[in-house]
Symmetry: C2
Subunit: 466 residues, 2 copies
């Protein structure tokens, strides 16, 4: 493992010496079945929180507290070393997904095992493995230098896998406690084992369910099909008004607040290691279909969408039923880009749906099903991104890629909105880590890289502020 | 009960004298739970067939046979009285719908009861009550005149409630045996208890299921929604191409063979006792929505349609799932008018669906789910229609209405195509007979009217041919 790290530091030797001990500790953590979605694991959730708190204390963090929320507790840690140095808030979660289907695991999900170059267990990547790394970095710095070179706070939650319902109120109620310069997210992924990447943004979201009704009862199509509105037809026609022939969203005002992709972004996107053929093959699709005028990567990272997630109405069984359906339904979510306001978009969408309601059809919009969240964006010029870029470049001996997510990270928006702190993703999930699936795994290479990377990042951030 | 029947006939007194006996017999018939869709009633089906055969023999029909089919048997009867007289083939069915939901019946479905002016039982109207009437008419004529005044054949099937799968082959294999001048259908209905009507047509049908696929697997909308075709969106867009803004069917060639509604028909339709407000209120609809330029009754009786019977795809549960669906499906049936060929229409429809398949979507059409059937039409000038018109006019002391059905009667098309015999509906189901539903009933007024009507019709048809 060669890298460009120039000055040897004491933590390097410490990490190598304690490798097995750290592995054993991670295995201990992975054995706790802290499944947040299953009530029978309530005690395991508590055990996992206490395990994290004890790890922080053992690492030397002077202030550690298990803080209650309306749901599972947040483990809070704080080590202020120098008010003139930057303060990083480290985010992660100690809860995991259920292990189902258990029979598809090669080794039991809560009995961690090493096979080949990987650690297999539920939570190995998402997020126990990743979360463990900054703690070990703090430990290494604490044991070798006496303390970390910058101020650190930890906010480790236990409800990420059930949608973090209590994290936004926790952040809002603890603005002063959590105050920081930026958030380091120890949850997420890297482009590939040899292709380090930094995530500069994710999309916002809003959505609704659309209900279309044309009569009180399903009707015989022979008696009513010719002269009474058909709810399935009306709903399909309404859904079809949502995009134009260029696959643009046809909702009036939808693009009003969208900042066009800049030449600089276009250049950045084009450098991403995105292989269109591989992408299509991964889902068995035949061609890129999206808003005209953009490449797939530009669409995925830079353009807002309106997605139909489901549709149902009338007779859906085998064979034929000559029914004229009286009701039909479809579900919409929109992926938003920065500067788009989820609430405003929802209002525009509702207005469009009412305006285009077909004759004889009553359209109701239920917006209670999808919570709104703004897009998240951080610039490559952010000092912590710069520091992370340099650290990863040194470690992997190649420049990291800048990437974005087409998905939504509500917590990133929450920290940005409530604390004014940007989120820097610094984590080692891989495309084949099988998060949420059987045989979840974490690469041993990542285990070594990540502990060193966090130490080097803390060092670099301390120097940067000098 | 006044009517315009001028010359008293002996059968009139006979029917009055034997009213209670006939009622008792009908009750006996109604007690047989001859449900064709439930295998456990196989013996009851056989009992019902034998009961009908015995009734025909008791009525004096000289040739009666229970003829096997690949399914339930057909009861065949034949009484040729005079080769110079017309031959009527009487159609009906001895099988019934299941009684579910049983708990909603006021009296048990297979224990017939009289309440107020009605007989309540499963099959009271559909079709045991109606089918019983021509048998009693033959009996009355046989006992008073020695024989009916025209030639009669009976073809009473036991699979109508499961779609008459074995009737077309039965008719095709017995063309000579069933040869007749016209078919009298003792199954169906009247406009209302005081508004006699004659049905001059029904629509044809064809249909298919449309399957839309865009990928091998459902996808995360964050990773794929912006650049991979969404199957629900593609299916909705495809479904929306099937009609134009005037609600006309937009399938190229769909109307090519349609004979426009004539001024004469338009006049006939406008005389029908069709109340638009009542019609809308009956299903809770707010306005007539159909092909522009036609009234509701013109649409229902005279114009072909393309109906979406069902649609499904993607996530349809409560809440939100940010999925980009890889498949979606919808079901179509078309109601056709005379001169439209179901097979040709299906081909046009398939061509349209392929032509309009959205980018990135594979469209497959499964036409195996709906059997095709041509429309049925008989003119008011048909001698048997004329005879029926006069008989009903005399009995009810008012002219009957000419009506059509928006639904499909495959057997009418079968008899017309295979035997060259038009079907004349002569039956007493009422809009509130609750066929196929709990508390099915038959009016006592119909019980008296129908027996007389069949006798008078046979008389009139005999005179007509003189």
């Amino acid at each position: 493992m060669e890298d460009r790290l120039s000055t040897p530091r004491a933590w390097q030797a410490y990490l190598e010496e304690h490798r097995q001990e750290h592995l054993d500790q991670l295995f201990e953590f992975l054995r706790i079945p802290s499944v947040s979605s299953l009530p029978e694991h309530k005690d395991d959730i508590q055990r996992a929180a206490e395990w994290v708190a004890q790890q922080l204390r053992d690492a030397g963090v002077p202030k550690v507290e298990i803080m209650p929320t309306a749901g599972n507790p947040v483990v809070y840690g704080e080590w202020i070393v120098d008010e003139s140095k930057p303060t990083a808030l480290i985010y992660g979660h100690y809860d995991v997904q259920p292990p189902d289907p258990v029979e598809q695991w090669e080794t039991p999900p809560f009995e961690p095992a090493i096979r080949g170059d990987r650690i297999y267990a539920r939570g190995a990547a998402d997020d126990k493995g990743n979360l463990f790394m900054p703690i070990k970095a703090v430990e290494a710095l604490s044991r070798t230098d006496g303390q970390p070179p910058i101020n650190l706070k930890f906010s480790i939650e236990g409800e990420e896998e059930i949608g973090s319902p209590n994290l936004p109120p926790f952040v809002e109620e603890n603005v002063d406690l959590l105050a920081c310069d930026f958030v380091l997210c120890a949850d997420g992924g890297m482009w590939g084992p040899d292709t380090p990447s930094l995530t500069l943004g994710s999309k916002g979201i809003t959505g609704c369910q659309v209900n279309v009704r044309t009569a009180d009862t399903d009707m015989h199509s022979g008696g009513f099909g010719a002269s009474i509105q058909n709810a399935v037809r009306a709903a399909a026609q309404l859904a079809a008004t949502l995009h134009d022939e260029q696959n643009r969203v046809a909702v009036e005002g939808f693009y009003d607040d969208v900042v066009p992709i800049t030449d600089e972004e276009r250049e950045l996107f084009s450098q991403a290691p995105f292989d269109e053929q591989e992408y299509l093959q991964s889902v068995g699709a035949t061609e890129i279909v999206g808003e005209h005028g953009y490449s797939a990567v530009e669409l995925n990272w830079g353009r807002p969408t309106l997605d139909l997630n489901g549709f149902w109405g009338g007779f859906t069984g085998p064979g034929t039923k000559t029914v004229t359906p009286c009701e039909a339904h479809f579900k919409i979510t929109c992926r938003l880009v920065p500067n788009q306001d989820p609430e405003k978009i929802l209002k525009l969408l509702e207005a469009h749906l009412q305006k285009h309601a077909p004759a004889g059809a009553t359209v109701t919009v239920d917006a209670s099903t999808t919570g709104g969240s703004r897009a998240f964006r951080v610039g490559p010029e952010h000092p912590a991104i710069q520091a992370a870029y340099e650290v990863l470049g040194d470690l992997y001996d190649r420049d990291p890629y800048y990437v974005r997510l087409g998905g939504t990270l509500p917590i990133a928006a929450t920290y940005q909105e409530v604390l004014g702190a940007d989120m820097i993703f610094f984590s080692w999930g891989m495309p084949d880590s099988r998060a949420h699936a059987p045989n979840e795994n974490f690469q041993l290479r990542s285990f070594d890289m990540a502990r060193r990377a966090y130490c080097a990042l803390f060092d670099r951030l301390a120097t940067q502020s000098d």
